[in-house]
Symmetry: C2
Subunit: 225 residues, 2 copies
């Protein structure tokens, strides 16, 4: 049995729902491929149009600009990851075990899960690592936030924050620790691969080391009191 989990996207992110047509799905697919290949700065709608077999105007009917497409893809990823987390931590009692599972899911290479053939989750994970912060590090962050474009990201952090509070109710900074874990799961991987001297994983270059670091950070940091 093949079950399809559908992610409900914020309608403000697109002009026309890309999931509703073949061209739309191609735009998502090649959007991921091209941003991954060229980086977000060098990514243009013209290149995307060529790959998707349409014209620039064809893309503009779906997305207002490339920033909206990035917001769409990052939102999609965070919502997808939150589902993964809920699924994999379901029926787990102990917050310790849950937290460890979350950290593992955050920092592990994603296996393309075949559920959505127009989005390659593995490439998208790598995009999140190197381009994800650019979704909010802008002058329009306030407006974008008003339109709830960061809701999936905030929801994910809230979920993780709750597990932290469950684990240690008196801890004063569950939300900040949650966002720290999420950001560092990505930044430490980026540093490990690109600026290794900023990490302690330069030789091995293993995700497991990043996971160990984050576990240590969380569980030593919360052990007392």
């Amino acid at each position: 049995m093949k079950m399809q989990v559908h992610i409900q996207m914020n309608e403000g992110l697109f002009l026309r729902n890309p999931e509703g047509s073949e061209l739309g799905k191609k735009i998502l697919k090649y959007g991921v491929l091209l941003i991954h290949k060229n980086g977000f700065e060098a990514f243009t709608f013209k290149k995307l149009a060529e790959e998707s077999g349409t014209t620039e105007a064809g893309i503009y009917r779906y997305f207002e600009n490339k920033h909206k497409l990035l917001l769409y893809l990052t939102s999609w990823y965070w919502a997808w990851l939150e589902f993964q987390i809920r699924f994999h931590t379901n029926n787990i009692e102990k917050p310790t075990v849950k937290l460890k599972k979350v950290i593992k899911l955050l920092a592990s290479t994603v296996a393309d899960d075949e559920q959505t053939n127009y989005i390659n989750e593995s490439l998208l994970h790598q995009i999140i690592i190197s381009e994800g912060s650019k979704a909010y590090l802008t002058k329009q962050v306030g407006e974008d936030n008003k339109q709830e474009f960061f809701k999936p990201y905030k929801d994910l952090c809230a979920t993780i924050g709750s597990i932290i509070s469950e684990y240690r109710p008196k801890y004063k900074y569950p939300k900040s620790l949650a966002s720290t874990i999420v950001e560092m799961a990505h930044f430490q991987i980026f540093f490990m691969n690109n600026l290794p001297s900023l990490t302690d994983f330069g030789k091995s270059r293993q995700e497991e080391d990043v996971i160990s670091f984050l576990n240590d950070l969380v569980f030593s940091g919360l052990k007392k009191g």
Copy 2:
């Protein structure tokens, strides 16, 4: 007595040394002002030229492109901050006290120190918070790193990493913790001001809270073992 601390910049960052002419200094000054005002994406050499009283080509004689200018400014900031840290932790014996001082310097609003009248350190600090990561979150990070453009940042993290090791020699992740502190000193401030639900400082919006969080993270995290 007014002493001038000169920061030696990597020559690969510029085509012509901006500190060597009046126009060059204006470019740095208005570069900071405009990036702060409009954000890095909306910042163009044309606007910078108008403010600086020259033409686009005038700017191109100093910097190859705006990415190089961002690298210049971030490098300058990290080198400046490292000096501040060395100065303020000088003669402090205890690594605990040193670390706390470092965290405070990282997360505190910078007072424009008047030493360099062409660079507003306070605005530059804010630029680092919202644009700093864009200096390395690029496809060219490897090449830029080969040319040592991130040396000041890596040096700063190494300095902090050493203090951590001094404090707790057996700790396995001094470098990763150092880069985590540096990044989070900025990200938590950004989140506090723009996406407050990702932090526990939403109501107060005080840098002191970020400092407390980081102290807690470091000192509870390292207390045991």
